[in-house]
Symmetry: C2
């Protein structure tokens, strides 16, 4: 195998084909889950859609359940990491408490966008599907933990600069905020509520109360 | 049918038997869901456990899907109403902002108890199961809406007395808080977190920030 066949992820042609097969199976499984949940995943349909053989499916995922779990884990992680990258980038540029709250204001607007509403439904569904499956739950807890760590790293820098209260456990706060952003789903689905107004306003007041440093003594 | 055969719900013997049959089917379905989710519900097992005939199951619920949906709706509503009764009773006795925050402190302790942790998992699972099912979702939105209404009624009285900020939309706040209490699940499952400390503390600071009335002008 010549060097120019190695791609940017360090994969040769065979490994690339293997990755492409896995990707095709996962995409077909995710597309099936889209409409009516995991119960609607039909192996025959997935094989048709992905153009992959039955043997290849079992080689990569072991079983239907293996494929379902991989699709659910991917769905959970995908929505989580997308949000984190945006947030971490913005937080990296913050130079005061006021600027941090501007980032949070924008984040609350982003959380209300149709794309993120769909991701929220995916996250909620993936989490619920993982709860009765010990292996999958462990994987999702690990994925989620990496998000908490990432968000905590961004916030720790602000804490060192005194832009947020020194006694806040930034990782626990990240977990609190990630949970709260997921919980907006309850307000989204109630036609009597306008989450872009009230849910966002209460969340913003909460963030200010939790993070604002005490005024300095002088 | 004589009057003394009518029970406290106004049901005669036949209606009582019918209710008992429905109850037995729902309990068997809920017990099956307990272990591994709705996919594990086996109609033959449910008929054995409940001692109900197949014809009776279809009479009451129309189909396996009908029974599954009724069990999920019951599971969602059951956990929601239990919490509301406790909360509404305590809020009814509140005579100051400080007393309200004491009630919330106790509520946060209650939310951390093993019973409520289990209910939280049930609520999350029921909600996720309802998302791809239009009829069930509508029912769950209605159930949830009644909780929001009930909690809002309790809080509206406090608002009239000036114990909470006058410009808070108490129904939207109830939705925000119910969502937040559900979101604790994310902190519960991460072994690196202690939600009884940080999650509760951040939530308490949030409640104080959102509800505390402005100091009076004189």
């Amino acid at each position: 195998m010549s060097v120019n066949e190695i791609d940017e992820q360090g994969l040769g042609p065979q490994a690339r084909r293997s990755e492409a097969t896995k990707r095709a199976l996962l995409d077909a499984a995710l597309a099936d889950m889209e409409a009516t949940g995991e119960a609607s995943i039909r192996i025959t349909k997935i094989l048709q859609e992905s153009g992959v053989t039955n043997g290849s499916l079992y080689h990569h995922f072991g079983s239907r359940e293996g494929l379902v779990q991989a699709a659910i884990a991917e769905r959970f992680l995908g929505s989580v990491t997308k949000g984190l990258a945006v947030f971490a980038h913005r937080v990296g540029e913050v130079g005061s408490t006021e600027q941090l709250f501007e980032v949070f204001r924008d984040e609350l607007v982003r959380i209300g966008s149709p794309d993120v509403q769909t991701q929220r439904i995916h996250r909620m569904t993936a989490l619920a599907a993982a709860l009765p499956r010990a292996d999958l739950l462990e994987r999702i807890i690990a994925d989620q933990g990496r998000y908490f760590d990432g968000a905590a790293d961004s916030l720790a820098r602000l804490q060192e600069h005194g832009f947020i209260r020194f006694d806040v456990d930034v990782r626990a706060f990240a977990a609190w905020f990630l949970g709260l952003s997921l919980s907006r789903l309850l307000s989204d689905i109630d036609p009597q509520l306008n989450p872009d107004n009230e849910w966002s306003e209460y969340t913003f007041r909460a963030l200010v109360a939790i993070l604002t440093p005490a005024p300095s003594a002088h």
